[in-house]
């Protein structure tokens, strides 16, 4: 009964609610944005690379931790032997200075850390954000006041400084990737909580929610059955934009030496080791930097595409691919479920 209620009540509100037909039109609108599509393909490829890192390196015949002293010139500070940083059929992207470890293997294994930590941290942020946001909107005045102030404090906290402080005090025996995930996740959930609270307050005043309440449903059941579906669109949108931010933060933390521990490769860690080599072995810096750039860009474009597809009336912040969205119905703002 409630499903039907949602489907019939949602039109006419400000909130696009993805029901069955919503999902279909969402995909249609997403597919119509060429930039978002390209970004989605890139992201899918990156995820595949991360998932199949052992397979890819096996294909190359290398692994990310073995030293190859014969491939570096010890007398010249350990610069890779050969042109382009020692690129060859055996070492597709060359080798790392001073160790001779395979750069391709380190890069693809580094993708696991970057993407894994970023995605997991986003999940933590979303879960905390929804919980706090909904509790705040549905709770008593005091609960709302308290949770909102806590959220304000979290939003005001400088992410990098707090992460550095937290990572510095936790004993180094704690598994590092999990720790980095938790730290990022636990510090940067404030904005999601705020968005969820505002959205919940809007939904709470709608007729179908009032109807549910009048029919005697408890708060928990209302939240689960009536409110959460309505929160999906803004949360997915914001989460899509959080992933690239989290990737950058993980890279920055590893760059500063508090991220994952060696010999586990991560892009940020590679960057920190490579920064002094920009003249003598430029590819050592360019590959991880390029990978980070492409990943963050693709995720941002994809996030923006998702946002456009979910809420056509909200104009794209980046206007990425806006010119090619003619058929997407963005301008009209009259999607199937709106």
């Amino acid at each position: 009964m409630s499903e039907a209620l949602v489907a019939t009540q949602a039109p006419g509100t400000d909130t696009p609610v993805p029901g069955a037909s919503g999902a279909r039109s969402f995909w249609r609108r997403l597919r119509a944005q060429r930039a978002a599509l390209v970004a989605a393909v890139v992201v899918a490829l990156l995820v595949l690379v991360a998932l199949f890192a052992p397979l890819l390196t096996a294909l190359e015949g290398q692994d990310p931790t073995t030293y190859h002293p014969s491939l570096i010139d010890s007398a010249r500070g350990g610069v890779p032997v050969g042109s382009f940083g020692g690129m060859s059929a055996h070492h597709w992207l060359g080798v790392e200075p001073q160790t001779g470890r395979d750069l391709f293997a380190r890069l693809v294994y580094g993708a696991r850390v970057s993407l894994g930590v970023a995605l997991a941290a986003t999940v933590v942020q979303v879960v905390i954000g929804i919980t706090i946001g909904v509790a705040s909107a549905l709770g008593s005045r005091w609960v709302d006041q308290f949770l909102s102030r806590v959220t304000d404090i979290i939003v005001a906290m400088p992410l990098m400084i707090m992460s550095l402080a937290l990572l510095a005090i936790v004993p180094s025996s704690f598994p590092r990737p999990v720790l980095v995930t938790l730290v990022i996740g636990l510090i940067a959930w404030g904005n999601i909580a705020k968005i969820v609270r505002a959205q919940t307050l809007t939904l709470k005043g709608l007729d179908y929610v009032s109807a549910a309440r009048l029919s005697g449903w408890g708060t928990w059941r209302i939240a689960r059955r009536e409110l959460l579906p309505g929160l999906a669109a803004p949360v997915i949108t914001y989460a899509a934009l959080l992933v690239p931010i989290n990737i950058s933060v993980e890279a920055a933390l590893s760059f500063l030496g508090v991220g994952v521990k060696p010999p586990t490769p991560s892009w940020g860690q590679m960057l920190t080791a490579a920064d002094v080599w920009y003249q003598a072995a430029p590819q050592y810096l360019l590959f991880p930097a390029g990978a980070l750039f492409v990943t963050v860009l693709a995720l941002t474009v994809l996030g923006d595409g998702v946002r456009t597809a979910l809420d056509p009336r909200a104009a794209s912040r980046l206007r990425v691919g806006a010119g090619r969205r003619r058929g997407a119905g963005t301008g009209s703002g009259k999607g199937a479920d709106a």
Binding site: T65, D73, R76, G78, P97, Q98, T99, K261
Partner: protein, 570 residues
């Protein structure tokens, strides 16, 4: 830290000393690329020498400086009773007279040392330098507010252990006598044949009592050397030195330039970039604290002109793995030996910057004659490690399936105790079935841990540098059982308290024939090496760029770095 124990000061001093060594010790040619660049290599007087540094000369007070042999810029202003011989290579590891007429006359079994000052010595204002001024200079280094120097004076001078400096205790130190204006006599609590080395330290600089301004003295220390301070901005960030006209020429300092302009607070990459470009005033520039890193070396070696402007030096310094035999499984000597056999020194050397910046070490003592270097390789690992032999030893030790251990290291980016070195060791030991977990600590945390007997890990990276080029200050703090500090900074990592070692240290300290002493230090090093309490990894090599117009590069084995008192720019 200032008022804490001798050992805490020693730690502070050692860390400063290492900074000085790493920063200021970048030249000591074993090979001789010591000729100036350019056609006319004869040095002439005149011109301005620019010094590009990263660390400001904050403590420009002779009481507070911890130096390995008189320092670099400070040695232009401060003369001492003795000094290091300003020559290239091994000849530069000798101690020679400076203010004194000789390197000291020992008596009473080397517990009393007597010095006579040269005639006609004057300060920058023309007033004469007296033996009482040297005594006063030493006394003020005991004042808690002027801490920072090496701990030897407090340890060695009779009845000086609790002396609080001349500001609190006007009576002064009874252990130092000044029978007349040119004579000074030191009374020690035990025989110390190496006292002439100690007398090179800046604490032996004369300080005129009437001009002493306490902690403010560093703003304008009164010069006894070839230059005087005419400008000191931002606590030593910018220093301008000009000729001291009252300097009575000494045999050691050449003092070619008319003016020295020290600019600090620069990033090390900026310093190396400016020296390689060598434009304008930078053509007459040197650095006394910035070495070439591996990546910069890769660039420099590819360029003949740049390569000709690199000074190479060897400072007495050893990077090693330390074991704490109180922690399992390192209580078993066979496990320690297995690690020694498994180590791959070529990958460690690469991690430290390659064969041009590090030389593999199998002895704890640096490979220099003045230290008494006696070659030995008790657990031969070859270039890349002997995994088979290591496995065999592990089996004998009751670990037939290998074992898992934790290696503690610092997270600082110094290519010494840093993650790169630790990872290279991890990779090498893997082949011998030793699985290494890395415990990287923030640098201060790391230092606190490894120098506290209560928290000392079982297996960690460490390094030690020489206070002067001899086996004494290299071996005694690390292996003398009486120097184990229970509640403070301990440097005896292996907690070794072997009566035969302690007795031999005492016996060598009695020798005033430094060559004979060196030989005995070398033999002692080998003997201690048998216990496998350390795995020597490498001795660093310092390489530094200098500007196009710089001539007369002298790099001694004492400091391993270009001697600023010898440099000419004309």
């Amino acid at each position: 830290m200032r008022q804490s124990s001798v050992i805490a000061r020693r730690l502070a001093a050692a860390s400063v000393g290492l900074v000085v060594a790493a920063g200021a010790a970048a030249c000591g040619p074993k090979g001789n690329d010591a000729k100036g660049a350019g056609g006319d290599s004869t040095p002439h007087k005149g011109g301005t020498l620019t010094v590009l540094n990263s660390v400001p000369q904050e403590d420009f007070d002779p009481a507070r400086l911890y130096t390995s042999g008189g320092g670099n810029v400070p040695s232009l202003v401060f003369r001492t009773l003795t000094t290091r011989n300003r020559e290239n290579g091994a000849a530069g590891a000798k101690v020679v007279p400076d203010l004194a007429t000789d390197t000291g006359r020992p008596s009473e079994n080397a517990t009393v040392w007597t010095y006579t000052l040269k005639k006609g010595l004057k300060y920058e204002d023309g007033t004469p330098i007296t033996s009482a001024d040297i005594k006063y200079g030493i006394e003020r280094s005991f004042a808690p507010e002027l801490s920072g120097g090496a701990p030897y004076l407090r340890d060695w001078l009779s009845g000086a252990a609790d002396y609080q400096g001349p500001y609190k205790d006007k009576k002064g130190l009874a252990a130092i006598g000044t029978p007349d204006e040119r004579t000074i006599v030191f009374h020690l609590n035990k025989p110390e044949g190496e006292f002439p080395y100690l007398a090179t330290q800046t604490q032996f600089t004369p300080v005129p009592k009437a001009k002493d301004t306490g902690t403010k003295y560093e703003e304008h220390p009164v010069s006894s050397g070839p230059y005087k301070v005419v400008e000191n901005q931002n606590d030593g960030e910018r220093l301008v030195l000009e000729r001291n006209t009252h300097w009575s020429e000494d045999d050691q300092r050449k003092a070619y330039p008319d003016k020295i302009d020290v600019r600090s607070g620069l990033d090390s990459s900026v310093i190396n970039q400016r020296l390689s470009a060598s434009q304008g005033a930078d053509a007459a520039a040197v650095t006394t604290d910035t070495n070439l890193g591996p990546a910069e070396l890769a660039k420099v070696t590819g360029d003949k002109e740049l390569a000709s402007r690199v000074g190479t030096g060897h400072f007495g310094y050893t990077n090693y793995i330390a074991f704490n035999p109180k922690v399992k499984p390192f209580d078993n000597a066979k496990v320690r030996q297995a690690v020694s056999y498994a180590i791959d020194r070529s990958s460690v050397v690469n991690a430290a910057g390659g064969s041009a910046l590090a030389e593999p070490a199998t002895t704890f003592l640096p490979d220099q004659k003045s230290f008494g270097y006696t070659p030995y390789d008790l657990f031969p690992a070859g270039r890349t490690g002997d995994a088979a032999k290591a496995k065999e030893l592990l089996k004998e030790a009751g670990h037939p399936n290998g074992l898992t251990v934790t290696l503690t290291h610092s997270n600082s980016k110094d290519f010494e105790t840093s993650p790169e070195i630790a990872t290279a060791i991890q990779d090498a030991l893997k082949k011998a079935g030793i699985r290494v977990k890395l415990q990287g600590l923030e640098d201060n945390d790391y230092r606190d841990k490894i120098h506290n007997v209560k928290t000392e890990p079982g297996f960690f990276l460490a390094h030690w540098g020489a206070d002067w080029p001899s086996g004494g200050p290299f071996l005694a703090p690390i292996f003398d059982g009486r120097q184990i500090v229970k509640d403070g900074s301990n440097f005896n990592n292996g907690l070794l308290n072997d009566p035969s070692v302690n007795t031999e240290i005492d016996a060598i300290n009695k020798l005033t024939d430094l060559d004979a002493a060196a030989e005995r230090w070398g033999a002692l090093d080998r003997k201690i090496g048998e216990q496998a309490l350390t795995v020597p990894l490498f001795h660093p090599v310092y390489k530094r760029l200098y500007g196009k117009d710089v001539k007369n590069i002298v790099i001694s084995d004492w400091t391993g770095v270009l001697d600023i008192s010898q440099v000419a720019v004309k």
